[in-house]
Each structure stands twice: as C-alpha cells, then as structure tokens.
C-alpha cells in the first residue's frame, strides 16, 4: 500500500482550517475546539503509531496488558468527564462496566478468529482499542440517560416506591429508556452497514489490499463485538448506578440532594 507522507497529512489540515474559518466568520465559536482537536488527533495518532511500532517489536504480554489497561483507564476518564449527571464512585462503575465487557468479548472474538495469534500485540491492542473506543459512547449515553431519567423523574420513582414497587420495578422505565438510548446508535449503524455506509475498518482493510469478502467478515466480527460490548457495558453500568440510587434495598439518598450534577 502507498505510504502517506507527513507533508500530505499536514496539507490535509487545510480542510479543518477552512471549517474553522467558516465558524469564525459566523461567530459560532467552534473554531478553537475544532482546530485543537484536529491537532490533538494528528499528534495522538502519530504517537500511537510510533508507540505501537515499538510494542509490536517487543511483543511481550505484560507490556500488552499494561497498554490495554492504560487505554481502558484513559477511556474511563474521558467517559466520566463527558457525563452530565454524575454519582459518587461512578468512575469505578464506568471502569468495571468497560473492563467486564470489552476485554472478555475481544478475547472470545480473537480466539474464534485465530487462537494462535490472539495474544500478539499487533492483534490484541488494535482490536481491544477499537472495541473500547466504540463501546465508550454507548455506555456513557446509557449511564447518563439513566441518571438523568431518575433525577428528573424522582417524584415518579417516589410514587411507585410508595405503592410498594421494588427498586427494579420503580426504575424500570428509566432503565428501558437508558438502554434504548445507549444501543440506538449501534443498532442504526448495524442496520445500514454495507448499504448506506462502508464501515471504517472494512474501508481500511480494502484500501490495504485485503479481499472485500474477507474484510466484510472481519467487519461483522467487529460489529458483533462492539454491539455486545455496548449492550452489556450499558447494562452493567446502569445496574451499578441503580445500586447507588437504591442503597440498602430502597433508600433514595439523592432525594436529600447528595447526588452530583455538573
């Protein structure tokens, strides 16, 4: 495959500068975050490239584990700060929701594809990274959606609990809405994959010279891994949140105002 030069990459930034100019001339104030994130994206991806090159050469399992743990921690932080409705210990809930779903699912998928090479750096790190990156949005949407529903509809929750509903019954509507919110984007992208859009990984593989049928199979594995991670990650994340709101069976500490809201 033809290598892209650094000069080509930098010259592509003209598109971002053009978008930033439109924002500036219309006073939308998104030019700064637009340019900063373009620069960050460029530097981070380049650094990742050099870092992965090094890790792939060394190819030691402890370094691989350290790398994917660091990726999970950074993903958790990034997710946590994006949440609008926070509850105490939510960072931990987020971390566990991510680690309990993305890691095992990635390992199972890689085992089914090629058990011999599943623990190699150039297989495990990109695959786990891709799943974490995609699962992150869904999980944060789900947890944020649940917290928002519970806090905004606390009078409804109180009404239901007062009639003898269990925490599970009283939070059923919020749980259902949050799960729908978190899984809608991936359900939509799975529904239109191959018709409206050619998914990113498949595009990359085809451009790198892989046969389209093979890359379609790989893309399907990724879609299954991502959708399952989002579904289970959101489920666990929301369960943790529900446990927070209904401590000791069913007491709503947040009614006294001890919940955190950014």
């Amino acid at each position: 495959m033809t290598s892209i030069s650094h000069i080509t990459l930098i010259s592509l930034c003209i598109f971002s500068i053009f978008c930033a100019y439109i924002s500036y001339s219309n006073k939308w104030s998104i030019e700064k975050p637009f340019l900063v994130s373009t620069l960050r994206c460029f530097l981070q991806l380049l650094l990742l490239g050099y870092f992965l090159k090094l890790i792939f050469t060394i190819n030691r399992i402890d370094l691989i584990l350290l790398t994917i743990t660091t990726m999970t921690v950074i993903a958790t932080f990034s997710n946590y700060y994006r949440l609008e409705y926070k509850v105490p210990k939510m960072w931990g809930y987020n971390f566990f929701a991510l680690i309990c779903t993305t890691w095992p699912i990635a390992l199972i998928c890689l085992y089914l594809i090629d058990p011999k090479h599943m623990t190699e750096a150039n297989t495990l790190i990109p695959f786990v990274g891709m799943i974490i990156g995609n699962a992150l949005n869904g999980i944060s949407l789900g947890m944020d959606g649940f917290n928002q529903e519970i806090i905004n509809n606390r009078r409804m929750v109180v009404t239901l609990l007062s009639y003898g509903a269990t925490p599970k019954e009283a939070s059923h509507i919020a749980f259902k809405k949050a799960m729908k919110l978190s899984t809608s984007p991936i359900i939509n992208s799975m529904s239109v994959a191959g018709i409206v859009s050619v998914p990113g990984m498949m595009t990359g593989q085809i451009m790198a010279g892989m046969p389209p049928i093979e890359s379609a199979k790989y893309q399907f594995v990724v879609m299954i891994a991502v959708s399952t991670s989002i579904f289970l990650g959101s489920y666990f994340g929301i369960l943790f949140c529900r446990k927070h709101y209904f401590k000791n069976g069913a007491s709503l500490e947040f009614l006294l105002g001890s919940h955190q809201h950014r």
Partner: protein, 230 residues
C-alpha cells in the same frame, strides 16, 4: 380478642430516629407513638422537614433508628416494599407514569408485592371513583392531562385500596377543591373506621382547621426535632 390486642398494640412506636445527610442530623425523633384508630396531625412551617419525616417512616431515606415498630413488627426487619404496603405515603405532587390511568393501574397490579391479590380491588375502585363523581371514562384519561386534583384523587383511591395499616397524608389533598377535599377526608375516615384496631392516619396540612380529620395526637417539627404537643 382483636380488641384486646389493640389495647396493647401501638400502631407506630419509634424511639430515637435520625436522618443524616453528610454526617449532619437533619431530622431527629426522640419518641413517636401512635395508637390504633388514631389520627395524628404533623405540623411545622414550610421546609421544616415534614416530608423528610414521612419518607423516613417508609424508609425512602436512609435512617438510623433504635426502635421502630409498626403494629408490633420491627419495621427495619421488613422488606421495604412490604413495609410500604403497611404504611403508605401519599404526597402532594404524585407523578403518574404511563399513558393513561388504566395502564397505570395495570402496572401497579403487576407489582410483585400484589401478585394474585389485586383483582378484588377493581370493583371497589369504580365505587370510589363514583364517590368523586367520576365513572369508567376516568380510566381512559391520559395521565399527562390529569389536573393536580385528579392526580391526587387517583393516588388516594389506590392508597385506600392498597394500604393495610397507616396512611401518611403529606398535603395529599392540597390540589383539591373544598368539596372534593371533603369527600376525600370522609373516604379516609371511612377507611380508618372500617378496621380501626389495625389502622391509623398521620397527616400534614397547611389548613388543619378546615379539615374533618380531628387529630387525637399532635406533633410538630421544630428545628429538625419532631416533638409532641400536649
């Protein structure tokens, strides 16, 4: 025999109860007693903690308590959802989920605590609706279109049908007009008198002097302390 028991039983008996938020006691009860068949008025200015007290009684808030018994059963040993069928909290702003009244009632009937025992209530529900000059059409109303008073009527009807022992009325008739409020109070008194050895009421209201619920006991919340008025 039942009457004999009621002489010794207390509807509610609390010794030392605290509601704590971030290490600070925001509500304290030294002693709270309520006899079966009694109506108790809970007073206090706005924001004094009346709703917090009611919610702590149904363990909707985290509480620390030395002794809390309801009809001789330790309230802290009961499952919260079971406790809430014995002592039911009706508040001034109930929020009703689901699309219409019928769906909401159906949802309540599917709660695990009422499995297999809700059907008997349906006929009584229509009778209670008629007392408020409402018929079956009320069941088809969208819950989002119910007025504050209608929502309180629905809440009260379910409370009367489902509550076993103690009704906690936290300004539960505040959105009703005077006439509807009279009907509501008569129904609540009828509920009490139907089985007065096993039932009691605690209520708070901004206009207790206009109420038909003549209290036998009066408590007031002052500076976070629940005190009995002699």
């Amino acid at each position: 025999m039942e009457h004999h028991w009621s002489f010794y039983l207390e509807a509610i008996n609390i010794d030392k109860l605290w509601v704590t938020l971030k290490g600070i006691h925001i509500l304290q009860v030294e002693k709270f007693c309520l006899q079966p068949g009694d109506v108790c008025y809970l007073g206090g200015h706005s924001g004094s903690g009346k709703s917090i007290f009611f919610k702590s009684l149904i363990r909707l808030l985290p509480i620390e308590v030395q002794n809390y018994k309801i009809f001789n059963e330790n309230a802290m040993d009961l499952k919260p959802e079971l406790l809430r069928t014995k002592i039911m909290y009706l508040n001034q702003q109930p929020q009703i989920p689901h699309h219409n009244v019928h769906e909401f009632i159906n949802f309540i009937s599917t709660l695990s605590i009422y499995q297999g025992q809700f059907n008997q209530f349906k006929d009584n529900m229509l009778q209670l609706l008629r007392a408020f000059s409402r018929d079956e059409k009320f069941l088809t109303l969208e819950t989002s279109n119910l007025s504050g008073g209608e929502t309180q009527i629905l809440q009260l009807i379910l409370g009367i049908l489902l509550c076993k022992n103690v009704l906690l009325l936290d300004e539960a008739f505040s959105a009703m007009d005077r006439h509807t409020q009279d009907i509501a109070e008569k129904l609540v008194l009828k509920w009490l008198n139907d089985n007065s050895s096993q039932r009691s009421i605690i209520f708070s209201s901004h206009q207790p002097e206009l109420s038909h619920l003549n209290p036998q006991a009066n408590y007031v919340i002052h500076k976070g302390h629940v005190q009995k008025l002699e």
